[in-house]
Symmetry: C2
Subunit: 193 residues, 2 copies
DNA sequence: CGAAATATGGAGGCTGCCTCCATATTCGGT
DNA sequence: ACCGAATATGGAGGCAGCCTCCATATTTCG
């Protein structure tokens, strides 16, 4: 994978680069273990850095989050390309949605900022988010033209649906079901044709 | 509607009842306008009451929320009964899901605590939440037996799906779609039969 | 009316967010 | 190898929200 550790970052002083990397490294751990709500102060502390330093490098939680997700996003885009290679349009769409789900599961609670991102163009997640919607639209269009996707469905519907399912999917056990079952419902509906 | 203002509350001193009502009243306004994350301190202040008093009456945000939702829950249960009266099992299920959606839209962000409720049996929302799942199961079973609901779907699937759609539905506009379209996708899937 | 029971509110401890700036570190030119 | 300019640091401090505790106030009832 690409080197998220931005060790290759020009125009940054050596100490700055070092600190940035340490923050990023610690942040990934914390986001992974405590979800996207992890305390930024605690991350700074664990990285052996003052809060000011953290905020200098990453002005907002979203910025830090986006940086932490860079690798995963690259991976996701790679899987988008793989999906594009698949001949069967339906299978391709499925592959993409599966990739999207995996991505959204990177950190607990990730669906929320992604959902919010599109509204605020300021967010560092926003452009990537728009990109994800457009990929969804692309593969959906193909599945509508050459596969079995419904014509009435839009990219927004599909993306939002995927977000909703991802958001909910942490609790599938408590509700006596499984991720797969839930996804199947979303794919085929709860009603017969 | 039933009197959520618990003015009829035995064993409470007159001033206590008065304060409880004021808190509840203000809380409903604040939750409605700012979502379920509204500041409890601010609610207390607006109710002309100290924070301690608020916490004495409602030990947690969830407790306050649950109290604020009492009326809406009664309404929801009434609509469940209406749904049960409907002869067509599919239509009945639809009516119930529509009622559920309306309920979940009472306050911005309500889906989150409802989703969480089932895990923590301590939550004041938990029992009501279980009840909602069981109603969903009941109407789903009927639609499976006498209507066109898929046999493979479970009550948990349906409830979680509804939660996910409700959670996401605030942003439908930003994603260039509509609540109805999204719900249709959930009902029928994005794939053709 | 007064004592016992009950309720109050606000001070205060805690955590998290974020900003600012005196001080420390690095860098590039000599 | 050194020094001044440019850059980065960290931690103090201001703010807001959560929640608890208890000296004081209000109500109730005999």
């Amino acid at each position: 994978m690409t080197n998220v550790a931005a060790s290759d970052r020009p125009g940054l002083r050596a100490d700055a680069r070092r600190n940035r990397d340490r923050i990023l490294h610690v942040a990934m751990q914390h986001f992974a273990s405590r979800g996207i709500g992890a305390s930024l102060e605690e991350i700074a502390r664990a990285a052996g850095v003052g809060p000011g330093t953290l905020y200098r490098h990453f002005p907002s939680r979203e910025a830090l989050l986006a940086a932490c997700l860079e690798d995963r996003q690259a991976e996701l885009l790679a899987r988008a390309d793989e999906a594009r290679q698949i001949a069967d349009a339906d299978v391709a769409l499925d592959a993409w949605l599966a990739a999207l789900r995996d991505y959204l599961r990177t950190f607990n609670g990730l669906p929320a900022p992604v959902l919010a991102a599109i509204e605020e163009q300021a967010s560092p997640l926003a452009t990537s988010c728009q990109h994800l919607v457009s990929i969804t639209g692309e593969l959906l269009a193909r599945a509508q033209a050459h596969g079995h996707a419904r014509r009435s469905v839009t990219a927004g519907d599909l993306f939002l649906g995927a977000l909703g399912m991802a958001w909910v999917s942490d609790r599938v056990d408590a509700y006596g079901t499984t991720r797969d079952a839930l996804e199947a419902v979303f794919a085929h509906g709860y009603l017969d044709a």
